[in-house]
Symmetry: D2
Subunit: 332 residues, 4 copies
């Protein structure tokens, strides 16, 4: 249940009520909002006089639900805005991993030359083997920060586990919670305490319901700036790396109020399919794309097969613009 | 291995050679073509002098492979053509099941009014329970034939199992091999002996490799008019009915020479998501869409939840045209 | 709904009633039984006076349901019996494919020497490529019949599609409906018209509910001798060929009244794991095992990697007996 | 590659070499062992004179591989030992969540009365909704510690994310890394620095290869006490909660040297199927079972449907003993 308290209830009183009824308390759109589990179907009698409005739900998709707020939420990333009524589709590019200053600078310059705003690059890599390249870690974060400073770009980078979440919050403009960390409450609860945008990737073995509930961890903790990112399910098909779930995207668009960014690079796993898939994504009227691009994919230290080279990445944007326009969106 | 025999080898001699080396023999583009398993990597010495050209393959995707023929095959469906260099995307509409003359006539008139050419409707329904509506069977086929005659439409309908394949071949313009029948050799071998177009739906538990090999059953038997149809995989996600595999479509576009039609209705399972998904499909530059539409979905005898009503179907086409145009295709 | 008509209603009257209410009519345990879809929750008023007893169901698992008949059904296979209260676990062995008289005779002699009763061997192989070995077809069936005659063995062989179902019914003691044919109504409806036991394998992409409903096609058509066979699901795991669903077996044991045979060979795909998995299966108190064994697996024309050699097969039985005994069962 | 250095190389020299060739360095069985990625196929020339023995591998399953050490590893849990040549199958029982002192004491007394040694109970619950019961956290750990002290039981409890790993290491005898945390390097790297046994559950969307590589994170960091736990895959089947992958267990038994414990409770999701599945597990000769049991499952705060009551749990052990004996194992 979500409860809007009356305007006359001040914030500390609201916190007190929340504690009594074991609810979460947030301030959203200048209102004191309480959230209990969806099992609660009636307003507790003791607080009835304080309640302005309330919503009951069939399950724990509450703050993220169109039933609660039918308009898509707006999220600001530095100087750009996605979601809401902006009809913007942000193209986020950059390498899988930050590998060197030279490499990430090349990516940054590419984006700037294309008029794009947001640079991705992994520093803490969630590799499945201890013997693989694990990322430049803090050194990588500092390189991203340098790019931000020199080129005015937003940077987005992934948190691998809760031990580096404070660093990621400090250094990035968008905190990326990776697919393997989607259930990580240490991360999600920390993300709830900042106001920086959080992009949550759907686990490749996670249901839509669980995905949205991961967002609820952040929203119910007080950070309203959540973006969902679909990046492919693990299925029996091995011809491609994962299976991008666009049916799921249609479901998310129908039932949730959160902006959606898609990651066709990880889903496909092979560069040849990324442009075609990216066009499919854009045609759904989504709020952004995450595309891996590397100055020289052949020597990339991770995900070599799926990264576009810079020529391909630039060409891609050219083909995305008319598709976006055909559904009333604009690539930014 | 695929072998092109020299022009001087006549057809009966070719058949004789095929029999000796246990190969399939077809005539394709006025050539005698032999096909063995992909395990054969060298031309048998005894026939070397008869061979013009040959191709070896890493697996049994042979006739359908871009390695053999890089240009997309062209398939004629009545007066329209898809594939090849046509850049046509055919929109096929109609109800899940033919239920009555009134109903199917309403569908036919809708298509005609929209300038569309091809009507779908199931007569032998592959229901999973013996206690569900099983379709009008032969009576339904006759209604489809009547619509063809009266309205000049192509009709496409599904074969459920090998016992009615002869009827389906007789009555339909495109033979639809359903997802549950994809492995059915009784059907595939019968389809190989006609020249009517065959639309093979991918089994929801079938790999891309198996899917293409189902097409090889038809192609190697002498019918070159094969269309592939992706309609969703069965995954752990239950929020939608199936998971449309557009990564797989990118794979098929990269590796095969067959036209591709997508079926977002069955993948999604819910009408609300069909338009958005359909736009995603069209943006990939595919050769067609199969969309379920019913004059009154609420009373449909099968798949009630996923069928568009006629207003929605007409509106859909309006939104698909600009998307198709944005990738250089034309809705027909 | 299942309806038991009163004893005074004779069979032709029962058929008449069935036709009126659009129900299936079978004679089961010397009773006239009608079966409608599970959507019917009340006995039609017009036939109330003819009804002895009736059962309503939440879904179309009806005749196979423990709600209808709580005791496990008994099925006779030649001179042996499984299911019911027999606590027999039949070990069915033999090669993936019948390849030659010498080979299948070797298998038959092995079974006889081990005191076993039932020989398996495929004649119509549901291969996914047209270029693979497709089986000896009718010639293979005749070899199996010869083995039956000479050694007194039961034979079980697979029907690939509806075009050969009559042959299979004629030549085999148990009709095997393969995983890829589980939905094939041409096959299922034909199986319903014989009294020979039918072993239905679960499709690797099929739900338990659909699996049981395939059995309902046979049961509702009048053949009560149905055996279920779990043989592995297709999952994302590629280290093994399929994933044997023993959770599903527990579900079937809880909810259905049908005997269950397991096929660890196809699930595992590799001979090394078959004995260990077979012991797991037996410990669940199942009614039988299908194990592939070949005189010389290395040269097998299909499924070479998963077939045990004859020494391994004989050793396996030795290890299965104590496991069966530990759960109150007997290997036969 | 795994390298055994010569005995004459002391530990600090070994560490120096490891650093030079970017390898992990551990001391295992009183030897200095270096581990590089499996991409390294030849001993670096510069250290050849220091090398006693080495192994190359096709992939990053190295320390856990039977190729490196064919004997199963032995792991001590308090006073009991599993793995190695013990042929012990430990039955670990207890509730899903520690809910109160009364409840966990009841569980502890049950185990003691049955002669069992190891108590499970969750304190940090990895719930997928922020609005569900999240566990008693530190208070729960203290209750477990109290049970250990009073009843001499080993306790095993789950770490949810890296923020509480230090607490879990301090309070538990076996650190349980849950399925949702299998990829969590913050946890795995911390587990590598203790010598306490670590039970790693396989992610429900994780491949066998990734599962074993999670173990490599711990092994390569210097903790050799790793136990693998299979608990079910997420598949399309919804009749049961997950699909226990016993084919995967056969694979693990063939290729790895780690003890294996199975969790049929989470796989099945329903108490009715747990005993039958547990017998299947035991028949595979595994090293242990994790079974959820609650004094009163109906009021359990989590996983109510799958927990056995105490009578069922006691009865289960009675049926497991003969199965274990039939494969040469002993329930402890």
């Amino acid at each position: 249940m979500i409860i809007h308290l009356k305007n006359e209830v001040n914030s500390s009183e609201a916190a007190q009520i929340a504690s009594e009824i074991k609810a979460f308390h947030i301030v959203y759109n200048n209102r004191n909002v309480l959230i209990t589990g969806s099992g609660v179907k009636e307003v507790p009698v003791t607080i009835e006089s304080k309640v302005d409005e309330f919503w009951v739900f069939p399950n724990d998709m509450q703050l993220s639900s169109k039933k609660y707020q039918s308009e898509k939420r707006e999220v600001k990333i530095g100087k750009i805005t996605i979601g809401g009524t902006t009809n913007n589709t942000v193209l986020i590019g950059g390498p899988c991993s930050v590998e060197s200053e030279e490499q990430i600078r090349s990516s940054a310059e590419l984006l700037v030359s294309m008029g794009l705003s947001t640079l991705r690059g992994g520093c803490y890599k969630p590799r499945t083997s201890p013997y693989s390249f694990q990322g430049l870690e803090l050194e990588g974060l500092k390189l991203l920060a340098k790019m931000r400073e020199e080129y005015g770009l937003n940077v987005i980078t992934e948190v691998r586990d809760a031990t580096q979440i404070d660093q990621i919050i400090e250094y990035s403009d968008v905190i990326q919670v990776g697919a393997k960390a989607m259930y990580d409450q240490g991360i999600l609860r920390a993300c709830a305490k900042t106001k920086k945008p959080v992009l949550i990737k759907r686990g490749f073995g996670s249901t839509l319901q669980e995905f949205v509930q991961a967002a609820e961890f952040v929203l119910s903790g007080g950070n309203e700036n959540v973006i969902l990112c679909e990046r492919g399910l693990r299925t029996f098909e091995t011809g491609t790396r994962f299976t991008l779930d666009l049916c799921g995207v249609a479901w998310l668009q129908e039932y949730t109020n959160l902006p959606i960014i898609l990651d066709p690079s990880h889903a496909m796993g092979y560069a040849y399919g990324v442009p075609s898939l990216a066009r499919a994504c854009v045609a759904m009227g989504v709020d952004g794309l995450l595309i891996e691009a590397h100055p020289n994919p052949k020597v990339a230290k991770s995900d070599a097969s799926q990264q576009l080279d810079h020529t391909e990445f630039a060409a891609l944007l050219g083909t995305l613009r008319p598709v976006a326009a055909s559904v009333g969106y604009k690539m930014i």
